[in-house]
Every structure is written in C-alpha cells, then in structure tokens.
C-alpha cells in the first residue's frame, strides 16, 4: 500500500466525519435527532479522554513501566463509578447555572469573577498546549511510519509540513462544527456525533490489533499470560506511591481537564445519561487497556531493538504484512488525536472568548453600553474562531520547539499535573460554602507557579529552558528551590514531587485565604447556590431596581444569542407572565433568568457585566443590603415582641393560676368558717329551744323554772356575744371600722381593762412605774384587746393559783405591753393557729367562747398600727402587744414632759 493510498483513505475518513457531523446538525436542527441524545452517545463522547496518548502511548508506557500505564484509566474509572459523589453534582450545577467551561464554573462560583476566569483560562491553555502538540506529533509520527514503509524517508521538513496540514484540517473542522451555535448549552451535535463515531473506530482498531496479537502472534490468552511472565516487563517493580499518586492524578485530571469538562458537563443533555455512563465508560476504558500489555510484550519480542514502543500498535501489524489492520490502527490513532484536539480547542476557545476577549472588548470599545456598539454575537463568534486557530497554532509551535523527541507519556503526566491545579478551587467551590475568591486566586496562582517551575519548565528537557546547573543546585545557588527537590527533599519521583508540592501549597493557600478573607455578597449567594444545588433550585441573585426596558434587553440579547433565539426566549417569558403578545415585564425574576440564558453563551462573568451595564446597578447594592437588613431587623423585632408577649402571657397565666389557688383555699376556709358558725350558732339555739319548750309545757316547780330560764338567758347572751364578735370581726376585716382617736395614759387604760374583764380569781401583778406612757389612739379598741387578753388568761391559765403579770416596756422605741401568766403555755403546733377564727384549744365548754377573741385582737391591733404576738418560752402563756408607733413616740414625749 502506497503512502498516497493512505492519504486518500485518511481524507475519505475525514470527509465521512464531516458528513456525519453535517447530517447530525441537520437532523438536530429539524428536531429529529432523538438518537443524538442517547446515553450511549454521551458515553462514547467521554472517550476523548483516550487520546493518541492512550492509543499509541499506552503501549510504549507499558513497555517501559509495565502495569503502571493502567493507573491513567483507573482514576477516571473511580470517578465515574463514584458518580454519585462529584460528577452528578457537577452536572447539576452545570445545567442549572448554564456553565460553559471549567473557567466559567470557577468564575461563577466565586462571585462571577473575571479575574478567576482569566487565571483558569490561561492555566488551561498552558497545560493543554503540550497535549495538543502531543497529538500532532503522534499523527505525524504515524504518517512517518507509513511513509517509511512506502520507501520514503521523512525528514524534519516533511514532518513539519504534515503537522501544519493536520493542524489546519483540525482547525477547519472545529471552526465549522464547534462555533455553529453560540450557546454552549445548545450542544454541538455534529461534533459530539463525530466524536462518538471516532470513539467506536479507535476502540475497534485497538481491539483488532489486540486480538491479532493474542491469537495471531501468540497462542491465546493462556500462552499470552505465560509470555507476559517471561517478558522483560515482568521484571518491573511498582513503586506504591507512584501507583497511588497516578491513580489520584488521573482521577483529578478527568474532572479538571477542560475538554473532559466540556463533554462531561457542558455537552450533557440529560442527567440520567450519567447512570449509563457510570458503568459503560469504565467498560470502555477497560477494553481500551485490555490488550495494551500483550501488544507491548509481543512488540518487545518481535520488533527489532531500538524500535519506538510508542508506535507498536502501528508497526506491529505493518511488520507482519497486515496492511488493512495497520490502516485500521492508523485510523484509530488518527481518531484519538483529532477528537481530543477538536474538543480541547472548542473548550479552550470558549474559555478564551468568554473570559479574555469579551471582558477586554467590553472594557475597551463598549464603554457606552453593550447595545450601542457593534454586534456582540459577531465578536463572540470571531473570538472563538480566532482562538481555535490560536490554540492550534500554539500547539504547533510547541511541537516545533520541543522537537517531538520526548516520550509521549511524560508530557501527558506533566499536562495532567497542570490542569489539576483547578481541583482545590473546584471541589472547595462545590462542597464548601466558605471558599472565597481571594482563596481561590491565591491557591490557583501559587499552585500554577510551582507547577511551572517544578514540572513544566523541566519538561522541555535539560538545558532547554532551565540550565542544568539550576536543576542541580537551584537558582542563584538556593538549593532549597531546586525544581526536583523543593526544600531539600530529594529522591522523590519528579512528577509526584511536583504534584505533591503544587497541590499541597495550592490547597493550603486556598483554605487559608478563604478562612481569612471575607466574601462579597454575590460570592456568598453563588456559594450557597452551588453547594446547596440539590436542596433547592432557587432563583439567582435578583437584579434590583432595573431601569432597563424590555426593548433594551431584547436588543442586547439578540446581539449575543441571535435574533430567533432571543425572541423565542422573550416570548416564552412573556407567556409565563401571562401576556399573550408583546414583551415581558422587566421583573427581577425575568432579568435573572435572562442573565442565566446569556451566561450560557458568553459565560457568567460577562453576562453579569452586560446585564449590569443595562440595568445600571450591581446585583446587590448597599441600599438593597440595608433594606434587607432593615427587613431582618423588623422581623427580629417582631419576633422579640412576640416573645415578650408570650412571656407576659405566661406571667399572667401564672398569676391567674395562683389567684385561682388562693380562691380555692379561701373557698375551703369559707366552707370551714360557715360550718363552724353553724355549729356555734346552733348549740345555744338548740338549748334555748329545748328549754323554752319545757317551760311552755308549764307544770314545773319554780326552782327548775328559774334554772331553765337562767340557762336560756346565758345561752341567749352567748349568742348575742357571738353575733357581736362576728359583726365586729367582719367590720374589722372589711376595713370599715372607724377609729375614734383619744388620748390617755396606759396605766388608766389597764385599770379600766382589768375592771371590765372582771377576773376575780386572777391575781394581777403590775408595775405602775412603767405604765406612764401616754397613748393617743382609739383607746376603746385598745382596751377591748387588753380585756380579751386578761379574760383569756383568767379562762385558760391552768396554774393552781393563777397569776397574770402585766409589764410595759420600751423596745426599739416602741411601747410594748406583755401579758404573762404562770400556766403551762401553748404547745408549739397550736401556736400557729391561736390567732385564727374559731380556734379554741382544749375544752371548748370551759372556754365558753366562740374562739374569735384573739382573731379580733389581732385585727384591732393591725388596724391601730400595732401588733399582738405570742411569745414562746416565757414560762407561761405570754402575749406581747406592741402599741402603735406614733402613739409610742408621742407617749415618750409626753412622759418626759410629765416627768419634769
């Protein structure tokens, strides 16, 4: 097969891809492309992870380092198998927030920051350029192989020419299908379907070569295993840290590579496709790596020494004369390279146009407002096309500069380590609300700088950029800055070393920066939306006080997403607002949804800025915050008031309960009182009634008659006294008593009381010298108290010769009079009740009273402003009457006057 035939086949294949892409675009445009959204298409589109590095490089990798190549596929397998953790979240965020690229994700998460968008875009370009160069290199190398087989020996000039043509071809395809529609969320159906076809081609090609090797060049699987055991590969020993480190690196890169983000998140048509892809993509990866070791083993056995193991997939069938298989293998490698380059350039061009060109353009020419200057749509498309060309040109440049000498796999790992610098900001952004813009910028830039110093610059080869002396001794002789032994830690694998330090410092600074800085309101809103993506899909931050009219917004939108799409969106919005025709009202919700729609085309930061220009206000102004704070304060105050009210109600309820308890107790007391009264009244009445009955019957001797009349009289007197007492007490208790103030000497009052009490049996002991106090109070009432106390002593004193000592004294400036008898006193439990109504101790018949005396005494004394109390431990019963204060002081003054 001649070289020209190969060229023709390759061109036919490319033409076929163009046709497939065109057909898919047309079907999608007609709305017939249901099969374009099959989960299997999504899964196959993920296969751009398997680039030429996989197709050719994996075998070379296996030939050099044995099983280690498989780590590059185990990492993504773990990510997809664990889709429920991260990928599902990323896809949901990407869909609800209309994320267009990984730079857009980081920028949108950290407050729609333009700076972050630029940083991530630049990092992605720097990291992706060697990778694109790698693809160009692999395709040109495969051309070279065929050229050599066809008898031509390619020199540098031919290789470069081939690389240029490949780059131009790829740029054409990408521009044609990758910039067709501006809205990245509208998905590039043509590109996706072409990639899916290429995915099938490369899988079939690699499997075909593998089957040929195992069953054609060896004797089946068992023999193959024996051959593996016998091959030089079996001597290889695996470093555990490198094994684990590379699995982590590939897993992280799978999430962070811009092209993987493009197919995984941006081109995702349906979240449920993840369910299929979660197992189908690992299956694809496994099939891709299944025959890598057999091919490497057989290649090492058959091919001459010095043959490039990176090209075994191609040279092995060729050396055995299987032209067709070699052609298929070539197409597989070609597919791997082209699909990767196409998607990578689309992703990078989206990032460049949205995060670098548009912000610059807006800042320069569009100062008066996006609607005044030229067609944004035109600018965006042009920016994308130019950046596609630019990215490919950079790749070609790198290819020329590096000379294409280094092993493919080494560049791949360096590139991977570069893109995973986004990982801390990305995971921190979607799982941790505390991540801030400052932290992300710090972490990203520092991690990137370390990566450039430790991995990227040395990857050009010794003395290419960094002189050997610097690598060995560090810059300016600072040995702790040696690119492969930072801080003097030597002996670590260079890739692991660079990855470890860059990610460690990156994550550390991201965390410290986030913890120490304070996020803007927009950052906090976005953070909450990203982290709580599954909790609620609330609307984005509201645009406050919009001054833009719907016409302004429509004009601007038309310039970005095109007239048809913009008008359709506005019509839908108007319908949602209940308007049958015309433009929608510019509500906050409408502006927020419009911003999301636009961010699907030009990225979150740019869309935010554009809407901001029209609505002439930041999303969250200080006034809004103050209003918000006011509202919060009002709510707080209201809740405080409610709380106070509820506390007051609690207090009232408690008071009511207490009052109720008191009433209940009083009611019990009242019942007891009434039953006492009934008893007290009934007893005399009963005897009066029965004796008067007997008297009415007549026929009795005069002595009995007299006795009975006496009893009736006594009982009637007792009744009268009881009623008097009751009346007295009730008057006193109700406070209706009127006091008749008189003046008099205590001694005179006591004389009166002793006479009135008429206690003949009682011997009264007095000390008249102490009784000179002059009183000014209701003397009659006071006398009543004294009489009561003296009568009580006469009644209750149980001594054989009852005595009552009456002694007045001055205690703390108040005159007191003690009435002490020589009896046994009152038992302690009874002391508490002696002043209660109807409390009679011991035998009531002997007392002959209703038990109201002491109660009346206490009432009287309290009315007069004094008191009466029982004093314990005075030998007998002792009552102390404390005379009213004013009266006491007056008495003292009078006493001194009298004494003079």
């Amino acid at each position: 097969m001649s070289f020209n035939q190969l060229i023709i086949v390759a061109l036919c294949y490319v033409a076929f891809l163009f046709l497939v892409a065109f057909a898919a675009e047309r079907r999608a445009a007609r709305g017939q492309g249901g099969w374009l959204r099959l989960p299997i298409v999504y899964t196959l589109s993920l296969s751009i992870y398997c680039t030429a590095w996989t197709f050719y490089g994996a075998v070379g990798y296996a030939a050099r380092s044995g099983l280690e190549f498989v780590t590059i596929y185990l990492g993504p397998t773990l990510v997809m198998v664990g889709w429920w953790w991260i990928v599902r979240r990323l896809v949901r965020i990407g869909r609800t927030q209309r994320i267009t690229s990984i730079a857009d994700l980081i920028s949108a998460r950290f407050g729609k920051s333009t700076t972050l968008g630029v940083i991530v875009t630049l990092m992605a370009i720097v990291a992706a350029t060697p990778y694109i160069a790698l693809q160009l290199q692999s395709v040109t190398l495969s051309f070279q192989v065929f050229a050599r087989a066809g008898g031509q020996d390619w020199g540098g000039a031919e290789i470069n020419r081939a690389a240029i043509w490949i780059a131009i071809g790829l740029a054409t395809f990408t521009v044609l299908f990758g910039t067709r529609n501006l809205d990245a969320n509208e998905r590039h159906h043509g590109v996706v379907i072409a990639i899916a076809v290429e995915a099938v081609v490369k899988l079939v090609a690699l499997l075909a070569v593998g089957i040929f090797v195992v069953w054609g060049l060896s004797d089946g699987p068992v023999a193959m295993l024996a051959e593996i055991e016998a091959s030089p590969i079996a001597d290889w020993t695996q470093s555990g840290s490198r094994w684990a480190g590379l699995i982590f690196l590939s897993a992280a890169a799978f999430l962070c590579l811009p092209r993987m983000f493009q197919v995984l998140v941006v081109e995702n048509a349906d979240e449920r496709h993840l369910q299929t892809a979660s197992w189908a993509f690992p299956l694809y990866l496994m099939l891709m790596s299944l025959f890598v070791i057999p091919i490497a083993v057989v290649g090492l056995r058959i091919m001459p020494n010095g043959a490039n193991p990176d090209l075994f997939v191609l040279t092995l069938p060729l050396s055995q004369g299987h032209q067709g298989l070699a052609m298929l293998s070539f197409l597989g490698g070609f597919s791997s390279a082209t699909s990767m380059v196409i998607v990578a350039t689309i992703a990078l061009s989206t990032m460049v146009s949205n995060h670098i060109v548009l912000p610059l353009w807006m800042r320069s020419g569009a100062a008066p407002g996006a609607m005044m200057s030229g067609d944004v749509r035109h600018v965006v498309v042009l920016a994308r096309r130019l950046s596609i060309g630019g990215v490919l040109a950079l790749g070609y440049l790198y290819f020329r500069l590096s000379g294409g000498g280094t092993a493919l796999a080494a560049i791949g790992l360096v590139s991977f380590s570069g893109v995973v610098q986004v990982l801390p900001a990305m995971l921190g952004g979607i799982f941790w609300r505390g991540g801030t813009r400052t932290g992300a910028i710090l972490g990203l830039t520092t991690g990137f700088v370390i990566w450039v110093w430790c991995l990227f610059l040395p990857s050009f080869g010794t003395d290419a950029i960094i002189p050997t002396g610097v690598i060995l001794n560090g810059p300016f002789g600072w040995s702790w800055l040696r690119p492969e032994a930072l801080f003097g830690i030597t002996g670590v694998d260079p890739v692991l070393h660079g990855l470890f330090w860059s990610l460690l410092v990156n994550t550390g600074l991201f965390f410290i920066g986030s913890v120490l800085s304070f996020p803007t309101p927009l950052e906090r809103l976005q953070g909450a939306q990203f982290v709580n993506i599954f909790d609620n899909t609330a609307e984005g931050p509201a645009w406050a006080r919009s001054v833009a009219t719907a016409e302004d917004l429509l004009i601007m939108s038309q310039r970005i997403v095109g007239a048809g799409q913009a008008q359709a969106f506005f019509t839908r919005a108007a319908l949602r607002q209940g308007k049958v025709d015309g433009l929608p009202d510019v509500t906050q919700a409408f502006v927020a949804s419009l911003e999301r729609e636009l961010s699907g085309s030009v990225g979150a930061a740019t869309a935010h800025a554009m809407i901001g220009q029209l609505t002439q206000g930041a999303a969250v102004t200080v006034d809004d915050l103050i209003a918000l704070a006011d509202e919060t304060a009002q709510i707080l105050e209201y809740s405080n008031r409610l709380e106070a009210k509820s506390a007051e109600q609690d207090r009232t309820a408690r008071a009511l309960r207490e009052a109720n308890a008191k009433l209940m107790a009083l009611s019990v007391q009242k019942d007891a009182f009434l039953s006492q009264i009934r008893h007290e009244l009934r007893t005399p009445m009963t005897s009066i009634r029965s004796f008067s009955d007997i008297l009415r019957g007549g026929d009795m001797d005069p002595a009995d008659t007299t006795r009975m009349a006496g009893i009736i009289n006594t009982e009637a007197l007792r009744l009268t006294r009881l009623l008097d007492d009751l009346l007295d007490l009730s008057v006193l208790e109700n406070g209706q008593v009127t006091l008749h103030m008189q003046a008099g000497r205590l001694s005179g009052l006591l004389d009166r009381a002793i006479d009135a009490a008429g206690a003949a049996d009682l011997r009264i002991l007095r000390d008249p010298s102490l009784e000179g106090a002059w009183l000014e109070t209701d003397l009659d009432r006071l006398c009543q108290v004294f009489i009561n106390l003296i009568a009580n002593a006469a009644k209750y004193c149980d001594a054989p010769v009852p005595e009552l000592r009456i002694s007045a004294s001055l205690i703390e400036g108040r005159t007191t009079v003690d009435f002490t008898d020589n009896g046994h006193g009152i038992a302690p439990p009874d002391r508490a009740v002696i002043f209660e109504k109807f409390s009679r101790l011991g035998d009531s018949s002997r007392a002959g009273g209703a038990g109201l005396g002491l109660a009346i005494c206490r009432e009287i004394m309290q009315r007069l402003g004094g008191d009466v109390a029982y004093l314990a431990d005075r030998g007998g019963v002792c009552f102390r009457v404390t005379l009213p204060q004013a009266a006491g002081i007056a008495a003292k003054d009078v006493a001194t006057v009298v004494a003079r």
Binding site: G66, L67, V70, L74, T77, L78, V79, M80, V81, G82, W83, W84, W85, R88, L225, A226, I228, E229, S231, I233, A234, W236, T237, Q238, G240, W243, A244, I247, E271, R272, L274, Q275, T276, S278, W279, A280, P282, L283, M286, L290, I293, F534
Partner: protein
Amino acid sequence: MPDPDAPLRPVQGRPGLFLARDSYRQRRLRDAARMLPVLGVVIWLVPLLWQRDSEGFGGMAAAVVFVFVGWTVLILLTALIAQRLTTDGEAAVDSDTAP
C-alpha cells in the same frame, strides 16, 4: 415485639413494618453507589501489598489478571446499582442522611 403503632391502624390488611419500603431501598442503593469508589480503591491497592511480599505468586501475569478481573467486577456492580437508582426522584430526599 409489640408494635407501638398497632392500636392505631386496622388489623386486617396490615402493611409491613416499613411503610416507605421503596424509598428506603433507594436510599440504601445510594449509599452503595457512594461506596463503589472506595471498593475500587481497595481492589486496586491490593496488588501493591502482595507484590512486595512474595516473589512466587505476585507475578506480572497475576497482577494483570487481578486488576482486570477487579475492574470487571466493579463495572458489573456499578451497572447493577446504577440501573436501579432513580435520579429524577428528588422528592425522595434522603430524609435520614440529609443534613
């Protein structure tokens, strides 16, 4: 054990002890889906252990077979679980694992 809810519901046609049996199964399936990458890590770190230990068994061929068999098992498990998971049912929120 007597069911404390028993007096409240009619005895005949008694539903199972778990009323939300399906959503409970869903939540446990999600737990299983979360554990799959852990299983993968365990599977693929095993060859590191044995390669250092013995020369006889831990050969290259055995490692290759182990890695690929483990891969297949993981893919089968993922397929099995993913097919049974419902993603759109956000109504069946993890009531017992949600924060």
